[in-house]
Protein backbone atom coordinates (compact mmCIF):
# COMPACT_ATOMS: atom_id res chain seq x y z
CA UNK A 1 0.00 0.00 0.00
CA UNK A 2 1.57 3.31 -1.07
CA UNK A 3 2.35 5.85 1.60
CA UNK A 4 0.09 8.93 1.63
CA UNK A 5 2.32 11.93 2.18
CA UNK A 6 1.62 15.63 2.55
CA UNK A 7 4.56 18.04 2.10
CA UNK A 8 4.08 21.47 3.70
CA UNK A 9 6.75 24.01 2.70
CA UNK A 10 6.58 27.59 1.44
CA UNK A 11 9.38 26.99 -1.10
CA UNK A 12 7.23 25.81 -3.99
CA UNK A 13 10.04 24.75 -6.29
CA UNK A 14 11.57 22.60 -3.57
CA UNK A 15 8.18 21.05 -2.81
CA UNK A 16 7.38 20.29 -6.46
CA UNK A 17 10.74 18.65 -7.11
CA UNK A 18 10.59 16.59 -3.92
CA UNK A 19 6.97 15.58 -4.60
CA UNK A 20 7.81 14.37 -8.09
CA UNK A 21 10.79 12.35 -6.83
CA UNK A 22 8.67 10.75 -4.13
CA UNK A 23 5.83 10.01 -6.59
CA UNK A 24 8.37 8.31 -8.89
CA UNK A 25 9.15 6.05 -5.91
CA UNK A 26 5.54 4.96 -5.58
CA UNK A 27 4.26 7.34 -2.91
CA UNK A 28 0.93 9.18 -3.10
CA UNK A 29 2.07 12.79 -2.55
CA UNK A 30 0.19 16.06 -2.02
CA UNK A 31 1.72 19.46 -1.39
CA UNK A 32 0.78 22.67 0.41
CA UNK A 33 2.66 25.96 0.29
CA UNK A 34 1.55 27.20 3.70
CA UNK A 35 0.68 25.86 7.13
CA UNK A 36 -2.92 27.08 6.80
CA UNK A 37 -3.33 25.34 3.44
CA UNK A 38 -1.72 22.21 4.88
CA UNK A 39 -4.07 22.11 7.87
CA UNK A 40 -7.01 22.44 5.46
CA UNK A 41 -5.67 19.48 3.40
CA UNK A 42 -5.33 17.34 6.51
CA UNK A 43 -9.01 17.99 7.32
CA UNK A 44 -10.11 17.03 3.81
CA UNK A 45 -7.89 14.02 3.09
CA UNK A 46 -6.30 11.19 5.03
CA UNK A 47 -2.50 11.11 5.19
CA UNK A 48 -0.01 8.75 6.80
CA UNK A 49 2.79 11.29 7.11
CA UNK A 50 3.27 15.04 6.94
CA UNK A 51 6.71 16.33 5.92
CA UNK A 52 6.75 19.79 7.43
CA UNK A 53 9.14 22.73 7.06
CA UNK A 54 10.12 24.36 10.35
CA UNK A 55 10.49 27.94 9.11
CA UNK A 56 7.44 29.28 7.28
CA UNK A 57 5.73 32.67 7.14
CA UNK A 58 2.52 33.27 9.13
CA UNK A 59 2.67 30.00 11.07
CA UNK A 60 5.90 28.09 11.70
CA UNK A 61 6.40 24.33 11.81
CA UNK A 62 6.23 24.03 15.60
CA UNK A 63 2.82 25.78 15.79
CA UNK A 64 1.60 23.66 12.89
CA UNK A 65 2.85 20.48 14.57
CA UNK A 66 0.90 21.29 17.75
CA UNK A 67 -2.32 21.76 15.77
CA UNK A 68 -1.74 18.65 13.63
CA UNK A 69 -1.18 16.41 16.67
CA UNK A 70 -4.30 17.84 18.31
CA UNK A 71 -6.48 17.25 15.23
CA UNK A 72 -5.00 13.90 14.18
CA UNK A 73 -2.97 12.31 17.00
CA UNK A 74 -2.13 9.21 14.92
CA UNK A 75 -0.72 11.31 12.04
CA UNK A 76 3.07 11.08 11.85
CA UNK A 77 5.08 14.28 11.30
CA UNK A 78 8.64 14.61 10.03
CA UNK A 79 10.09 18.10 10.39
CA UNK A 80 12.58 19.57 7.91
CA UNK A 81 14.87 22.43 8.82
CA UNK A 82 17.77 24.29 7.25
CA UNK A 83 19.44 24.53 10.65
CA UNK A 84 18.91 21.60 12.99
CA UNK A 85 19.89 22.05 16.63
CA UNK A 86 19.60 19.71 19.61
CA UNK A 87 17.13 22.12 21.25
CA UNK A 88 14.87 22.14 18.19
CA UNK A 89 15.06 18.38 18.01
CA UNK A 90 14.06 17.95 21.64
CA UNK A 91 11.23 20.48 21.34
CA UNK A 92 9.93 18.72 18.22
CA UNK A 93 10.01 15.27 19.83
CA UNK A 94 8.28 16.52 22.98
CA UNK A 95 5.48 17.83 20.78
CA UNK A 96 5.12 14.45 19.08
CA UNK A 97 7.15 14.76 15.88
CA UNK A 98 8.53 11.48 14.61
CA UNK A 99 11.82 12.98 13.45
CA UNK A 100 13.70 16.17 12.57
CA UNK A 101 15.87 16.19 9.45
CA UNK A 102 18.26 18.83 8.24
CA UNK A 103 17.93 20.14 4.68
CA UNK A 104 19.03 19.04 2.17
CA UNK A 105 17.53 15.76 3.31
CA UNK A 106 18.84 12.63 1.67
CA UNK A 107 15.88 11.16 -0.22
CA UNK A 108 16.58 7.54 0.63
CA UNK A 109 16.78 8.46 4.35
CA UNK A 110 13.53 10.43 4.07
CA UNK A 111 11.83 7.58 2.19
CA UNK A 112 12.88 5.07 4.87
CA UNK A 113 11.52 7.33 7.62
CA UNK A 114 8.24 7.75 5.72
CA UNK A 115 7.83 3.96 5.47
CA UNK A 116 8.44 3.63 9.22
CA UNK A 117 6.01 6.48 9.85
CA UNK A 118 3.29 4.74 7.86
CA UNK A 119 3.84 1.52 9.80
CA UNK A 120 3.70 3.41 13.10
CA UNK A 121 0.47 5.13 12.10
CA UNK A 122 -1.13 1.81 11.13
CA UNK A 123 -0.27 0.34 14.52
CA UNK A 124 -1.80 3.34 16.29
CA UNK A 125 -4.97 3.17 14.18
CA UNK A 126 -5.32 -0.57 14.85
CA UNK A 127 -4.86 -0.08 18.60
CA UNK A 128 -7.46 2.67 18.56
CA UNK A 129 -9.89 0.40 16.67
CA UNK A 130 -9.26 -2.47 19.11
CA UNK A 131 -9.86 -0.20 22.07
CA UNK A 132 -13.09 1.04 20.53
CA UNK A 133 -14.34 -2.51 19.87
CA UNK A 134 -13.46 -3.50 23.43
CA UNK A 135 -15.36 -0.50 24.77
CA UNK A 136 -18.42 -1.35 22.69
CA UNK A 137 -18.34 -4.98 23.83
CA UNK A 138 -18.05 -3.97 27.46
CA UNK A 139 -20.87 -1.46 27.34
CA UNK A 140 -23.16 -3.85 25.47
CA UNK A 141 -22.33 -6.65 27.91
CA UNK A 142 -21.43 -9.16 25.13
Amino acid sequence: MSEKVLIIDDEQEFTEALAERMTNRGMDVSTSSSAIEGLQSVEEKSFDVVVLDLQMPEMDGIETLKILKKKKPELQVILLTGHATVEKGIEAMKLGAMDLLEKPADLSTLTEKIKKAQAKKMILVEKKAEARIKEIMETRGW
Binding site: E13, F14, A17, L18, E20, R21, N24, Q55, M56, P57, E58, D60, K103, P104, L107
Partner: protein, 182 residues
Protein backbone atom coordinates in the same frame (compact mmCIF):
# COMPACT_ATOMS: atom_id res chain seq x y z
CA UNK B 1 19.00 22.79 -6.23
CA UNK B 2 19.59 19.48 -4.51
CA UNK B 3 16.06 18.24 -5.21
CA UNK B 4 16.01 19.42 -8.81
CA UNK B 5 19.42 17.87 -9.50
CA UNK B 6 18.10 14.65 -7.94
CA UNK B 7 15.03 14.89 -10.14
CA UNK B 8 17.24 15.14 -13.23
CA UNK B 9 19.09 12.05 -12.03
CA UNK B 10 15.76 10.26 -11.64
CA UNK B 11 14.73 11.16 -15.20
CA UNK B 12 18.09 10.00 -16.57
CA UNK B 13 17.77 6.75 -14.64
CA UNK B 14 14.29 6.21 -16.12
CA UNK B 15 15.67 7.00 -19.59
CA UNK B 16 18.31 4.31 -19.10
CA UNK B 17 15.47 1.90 -18.30
CA UNK B 18 13.81 2.74 -21.61
CA UNK B 19 11.44 5.59 -20.75
CA UNK B 20 11.97 8.46 -23.27
CA UNK B 21 13.20 11.77 -21.84
CA UNK B 22 10.62 14.55 -21.77
CA UNK B 23 12.74 17.41 -23.15
CA UNK B 24 10.29 20.08 -22.03
CA UNK B 25 10.25 18.70 -18.47
CA UNK B 26 14.02 18.56 -18.44
CA UNK B 27 14.23 22.13 -19.66
CA UNK B 28 11.84 23.28 -16.90
CA UNK B 29 14.02 21.59 -14.27
CA UNK B 30 17.15 23.27 -15.65
CA UNK B 31 15.44 26.65 -15.52
CA UNK B 32 14.50 26.05 -11.87
CA UNK B 33 18.11 25.20 -11.06
CA UNK B 34 19.33 28.33 -12.85
CA UNK B 35 16.88 30.43 -10.86
CA UNK B 36 18.13 28.92 -7.60
CA UNK B 37 21.75 29.53 -8.66
CA UNK B 38 20.97 33.25 -9.07
CA UNK B 39 19.34 33.24 -5.63
CA UNK B 40 22.27 31.38 -4.08
CA UNK B 41 24.71 33.84 -5.66
CA UNK B 42 22.86 36.72 -4.01
CA UNK B 43 22.89 34.99 -0.62
CA UNK B 44 26.60 34.15 -0.95
CA UNK B 45 27.37 37.75 -1.87
CA UNK B 46 25.54 39.07 1.23
CA UNK B 47 27.22 36.55 3.53
CA UNK B 48 30.59 37.37 2.03
CA UNK B 49 30.04 41.09 2.64
CA UNK B 50 28.95 40.32 6.22
CA UNK B 51 31.95 38.10 6.90
CA UNK B 52 34.29 40.86 5.69
CA UNK B 53 32.47 43.56 7.69
CA UNK B 54 34.88 42.92 10.59
CA UNK B 55 38.01 43.42 8.47
CA UNK B 56 38.35 47.11 9.25
CA UNK B 57 37.57 48.56 12.69
CA UNK B 58 37.02 51.96 11.10
CA UNK B 59 35.97 52.90 7.57
CA UNK B 60 33.72 55.18 5.59
CA UNK B 61 30.40 53.37 5.26
CA UNK B 62 27.87 53.97 2.50
CA UNK B 63 24.64 54.12 4.54
CA UNK B 64 22.38 52.95 1.68
CA UNK B 65 24.56 49.90 1.14
CA UNK B 66 24.69 49.12 4.86
CA UNK B 67 20.89 49.23 5.12
CA UNK B 68 20.51 47.07 1.99
CA UNK B 69 22.96 44.52 3.41
CA UNK B 70 21.18 44.40 6.78
CA UNK B 71 17.84 43.93 5.01
CA UNK B 72 19.29 41.24 2.77
CA UNK B 73 20.72 39.30 5.72
CA UNK B 74 17.45 39.53 7.63
CA UNK B 75 15.09 39.20 4.67
CA UNK B 76 13.82 35.73 5.50
CA UNK B 77 13.12 36.55 9.14
CA UNK B 78 11.27 39.73 8.11
CA UNK B 79 9.35 37.90 5.35
CA UNK B 80 8.32 35.16 7.79
CA UNK B 81 6.74 37.84 9.98
CA UNK B 82 4.73 39.06 6.96
CA UNK B 83 6.21 42.55 7.12
CA UNK B 84 6.93 44.56 3.98
CA UNK B 85 9.99 46.79 4.12
CA UNK B 86 10.42 49.66 1.64
CA UNK B 87 13.89 51.16 1.62
CA UNK B 88 14.09 54.46 -0.26
CA UNK B 89 17.71 55.28 -0.96
CA UNK B 90 18.84 58.86 -0.47
CA UNK B 91 19.37 60.92 -3.63
CA UNK B 92 22.97 61.62 -2.72
CA UNK B 93 25.34 59.13 -1.15
CA UNK B 94 25.43 59.45 2.62
CA UNK B 95 28.37 58.21 4.65
CA UNK B 96 28.97 57.40 8.29
CA UNK B 97 32.31 56.53 9.90
CA UNK B 98 32.94 53.46 11.97
CA UNK B 99 32.89 49.68 11.88
CA UNK B 100 30.66 48.19 9.18
CA UNK B 101 29.99 45.21 11.44
CA UNK B 102 28.68 47.40 14.27
CA UNK B 103 26.67 49.57 11.87
CA UNK B 104 24.91 46.37 10.70
CA UNK B 105 24.46 45.35 14.33
CA UNK B 106 22.88 48.70 15.15
CA UNK B 107 20.58 48.72 12.12
CA UNK B 108 19.53 45.13 12.77
CA UNK B 109 18.88 45.84 16.47
CA UNK B 110 16.45 48.55 15.43
CA UNK B 111 14.83 46.34 12.77
CA UNK B 112 14.49 43.44 15.20
CA UNK B 113 12.86 45.65 17.80
CA UNK B 114 10.46 47.15 15.25
CA UNK B 115 9.49 43.83 13.65
CA UNK B 116 8.71 42.35 17.09
CA UNK B 117 6.02 45.00 17.48
CA UNK B 118 4.60 45.09 13.96
CA UNK B 119 1.72 42.86 12.94
CA UNK B 120 1.76 40.76 9.80
CA UNK B 121 0.84 42.86 6.76
CA UNK B 122 2.39 46.04 8.12
CA UNK B 123 4.68 48.22 6.01
CA UNK B 124 7.92 49.66 7.34
CA UNK B 125 9.48 52.56 5.43
CA UNK B 126 13.19 53.24 5.74
CA UNK B 127 14.80 56.34 4.31
CA UNK B 128 17.84 58.50 4.95
CA UNK B 129 18.76 62.15 4.52
CA UNK B 130 21.26 64.76 5.60
CA UNK B 131 19.95 67.13 8.21
CA UNK B 132 20.55 70.89 8.09
CA UNK B 133 23.45 70.52 10.52
CA UNK B 134 25.07 67.91 8.19
CA UNK B 135 24.08 65.08 10.51
CA UNK B 136 23.16 61.87 8.70
CA UNK B 137 19.70 60.65 9.66
CA UNK B 138 18.27 57.16 9.05
CA UNK B 139 14.51 57.05 9.60
CA UNK B 140 12.22 54.12 10.31
CA UNK B 141 8.55 54.86 9.80
CA UNK B 142 5.30 52.90 9.97
CA UNK B 143 1.60 53.70 10.13
CA UNK B 144 1.18 52.51 13.70
CA UNK B 145 2.66 54.25 16.73
CA UNK B 146 4.91 51.38 17.72
CA UNK B 147 7.90 53.22 19.12
CA UNK B 148 7.76 53.24 22.89
CA UNK B 149 9.15 56.24 24.77
CA UNK B 150 12.06 54.12 25.99
CA UNK B 151 12.83 52.77 22.49
CA UNK B 152 16.41 54.09 22.59
CA UNK B 153 17.02 52.43 25.99
CA UNK B 154 15.83 49.09 24.60
CA UNK B 155 18.63 49.14 22.02
CA UNK B 156 22.24 48.34 22.67
CA UNK B 157 23.70 51.59 24.03
CA UNK B 158 27.26 50.59 23.18
CA UNK B 159 26.38 50.35 19.49
CA UNK B 160 24.80 53.82 19.62
CA UNK B 161 27.87 55.18 21.45
CA UNK B 162 30.26 53.80 18.82
CA UNK B 163 28.63 56.06 16.25
CA UNK B 164 27.86 58.86 18.73
CA UNK B 165 24.32 58.25 17.58
CA UNK B 166 20.98 58.95 19.21
CA UNK B 167 17.38 58.00 18.60
CA UNK B 168 14.73 60.69 18.27
CA UNK B 169 11.05 59.76 18.14
CA UNK B 170 8.78 61.78 15.89
CA UNK B 171 5.30 62.02 14.42
CA UNK B 172 3.49 60.70 17.47
CA UNK B 173 5.81 57.73 17.78
CA UNK B 174 5.25 56.43 14.25
CA UNK B 175 8.80 57.34 13.28
CA UNK B 176 12.20 56.80 14.86
CA UNK B 177 15.18 58.79 13.56
CA UNK B 178 18.67 57.38 14.05
CA UNK B 179 20.95 60.41 14.04
CA UNK B 180 24.62 59.67 13.49
CA UNK B 181 27.17 61.86 15.16
CA UNK B 182 30.08 60.71 13.01
Amino acid sequence: MNENAGLMSDHLFMAQKGKPIDAERFSAIIQRIEKQIVRADGIAKSLNAFSHSMDKPEQQIDLNEAVDLALSLGSRIIANKGIQVDHTESENKLYINGSLFFSLFLIWSILENITENLASGAVLNIFSKEEDNNQVCLSFQCEQAIFASDFAEQLNCQALDLFQAKIVLAEQHTRADLLFGR
